[in-house]
Amino acid sequence: MGVLLCLDTSDRYLSVGLAKDGQIFAAISYEAWQKQSESLVEEVQKILVENHLKRQDICGVSVAKGPGSYTGVRIALSVAKTIAFSLQIPLYLSSSLEILRAKEGTSICLVNARGKRSYFAVYEQGKALVEDCIKTNEEVLFYVAAHPEYHLCGDVGYLGLESEESDVLSILAKDADEAHRIGNVHAARPVYLKDDYDKDRLRTVVRKAMISDLPRILEIGKASLHSTYSEKDLYFDMQENPIAYFYTALVDGYVVGYLDFFVTFNSATIVQIAVDEAYRKKGIGNLLLGAMIRECEAQGEPVEFLTLEVRKSNENAQRFYKKHKFAPVTVKKAYYDDGEDAVYMVRSLIHG
């Protein structure tokens, strides 16, 4: 039976704990303001070694996701994400306020947000009576005075108040349940509350295509390009064709676009480029083209020109290519099987 690793560096403290059956059996906790980046991983190693545990013994990670110190929250979360990803084990995220709560009754949970403000929430066991939010310290003091029956939790010296001792590690251990588990480890992100910037941004990467990408590539090609390429054609370009290069773009591991191009001596030709309609206008095409240019520059013999054909009616695509410094050179009559003309576009890669 493995152990659960619990981590919190969301405020001034550094806390690392090991739990079995929901109970903490080893813990390290001390004030480490601005020393968390140096110390956290070392402390994790220390606690594992002291308890004669190897990485294979860790069966889950439970971590505070904020709100709190931006850097502090990111430190524990980056460590927790990396562990959960590496070992392919569950990752549990708890609010930094939620883990301050008292074992019983109703708790006002507070973290100093600085600038005369506080991160504030009210929890009754696992339930939030007031969700995590930001309040001015004045509002907080008013709320506290109005609710003398509630427990006051957190490091509240900055408000001139006294609080009860919190046991964040025990609560991180207790809360490591399905409700707190994040299915996709990559999607784990801190909660900042302040200045949330762009919630819908995608986590996109571009890499060389793999055979397992084929079903999605076929689907995207058919829908976006009316491509008649068969799985066999695509497989050939991906695996066997010596002049072909094939890249895929992924969002959280899901294939959303691809680029197939040929390099012949000093020029490279785009064979197909497509992005799933639901993911367009998000810069994915730019990333794919970037990968192509990178590949061209890594060739032994320098690639001097990028070329492509695009349907005359496809004005969006032509605009995209113009933005990327492709210039229309000529029109190829009845280039496509259905009789449509193609615009032939070229971009020079010669610098200077």
Binding site: V41, T71, R74, I75, I83, Y197, R203, K208, A298
Partner: protein
């Protein structure tokens, strides 16, 4: 032979690369440019947030492309500095965590050493060598008498050249990052605006860009107040002539003074076509070889970090798990961490 996984997160690119005995097996970069475009510059807090989101995706893709698992990796390398502090923290945590879990060495790499060694993907180094390090955060001339032997012989006293490009681009209404748009606009323009060549005051190889930036801003504002139209191509050309001219002149002088065999360009601004062209012209018939990095190495990536890490692995230069970041790490102090 050693397989090394390297992580780079010093500014606005989250990157992971894997090398095996010098051969690049994967090179993943999750760029944030589209996010920072909106702000006309890198916002440190936002960049740090994006790193925290991107890091495991990049790790996974780098391993997948290299067809390796973490158990196969012999050492984990990371950019320790210089860079934006919040950004550096994220890469550091990931690298330290992996080194701890898999009980493998942790290798701290200097970001600018990475940019310099990116040129090793193009050709072998010959010493003494002059490195022209020009980027959004740095402008310095570094003399190398041997591998991993760096002496800073000149540096900027205020802004970095790339930072200056970004600010000037913003004033001219050109997009971020400003390097390429100014470079392109300058090709269409003439040097008609009179801009002062800033005097760094200090050593003969030192630079100053703050004054040039202010001069452009003041000139543009005064022309607009007078109701005169500012020609963007002409202003871009006038600015670029001075900004790049300063780098070229000081570099050539330093190269002769130190009898170098080679000059290498490094950093984001080394993508600038005018800089590449001018350096090439000035060195014609000089017997000094010029190495220009491939364009993909002028932006931040982890392949260049892995290149340096492979060298440090041979020398067994490893860091303890208590390693911290250093946003102002000097290249000549790369062994101190």
């Amino acid at each position: 032979m050693a397989k090394i996984l390297a992580i780079e997160s010093s500014c606005d690119e989250t990157a992971v690369a894997i090398v095996d005995d010098g051969k690049l097996l994967s090179n993943i970069v999750a760029t944030q440019i589209s996010v920072h475009e909106k702000f006309g510059g890198v916002m440190p807090e936002i960049a740090s947030r994006l790193h925290a989101e991107n890091i495991t995706v990049c790790l996974e893709e780098a391993l997948t492309e290299a067809k390796l698992t973490l158990e196969d990796i012999d050492a984990f390398a990371v950019t320790r500095g210089p860079g934006l502090i919040g950004c550096l923290h994220v890469g550091l945590q990931a690298a330290k965590t992996l080194a701890m879990l898999y009980e493998k060495p942790l290798i701290p790499v200097h970001h600018l050493a990475g940019h310099i060694y990116a040129n090793e993907y193009v050709g072998d180094f010959k010493f003494p060598m002059l490195c022209i390090v020009v980027s959004g955060g740095n402008t310095e001339l570094v003399l190398m008498r041997d591998h991993m032997d760096f002496e800073i012989i000149g540096e900027t006293k205020d802004d970095a050249i790339g930072e200056c490009y970004d600010k000037v681009a913003r004033v001219l209404g050109l997009p971020y990052p400003g390097g390429l748009p100014i470079d392109l606009a300058a090709k269409q323009g003439q040097h008609v605006y009179d801009l002062p060549v800033p005097d760094a005051g200090a050593g003969p190889c030192d630079f100053s860009y703050s004054g040039l930036k202010t001069a452009v801003i003041n000139l543009v504002n005064s022309l607009r107040m007078k109701g005169e139209e500012v020609s963007v191509p002409d202003m871009a050309r006038s600015f670029q002539d001075v900004a790049v001219g300063m780098v070229v002149d000081k570099s050539i002088r330093a190269a002769y003074e130190h009898h170098v065999k080679q000059i290498v360009l490094a950093g984001g601004v080394s993508a600038n076509s005018y800089l590449r062209e001018q350096m090439g012209k000035k060195l014609e018939g000089s017997g000094i070889e010029l190495i220009i990095p491939p364009l993909w190495c002028t932006t931040d990536n982890a392949a260049m970090i892995a290149k340096v890490a492979a060298r440090l692995y041979e020398q067994k230069i490893f860091a303890p798990l208590s390693l911290g970041v250093d946003p102002n790490w000097k290249i000549d102090h790369w062994k101190e961490f």
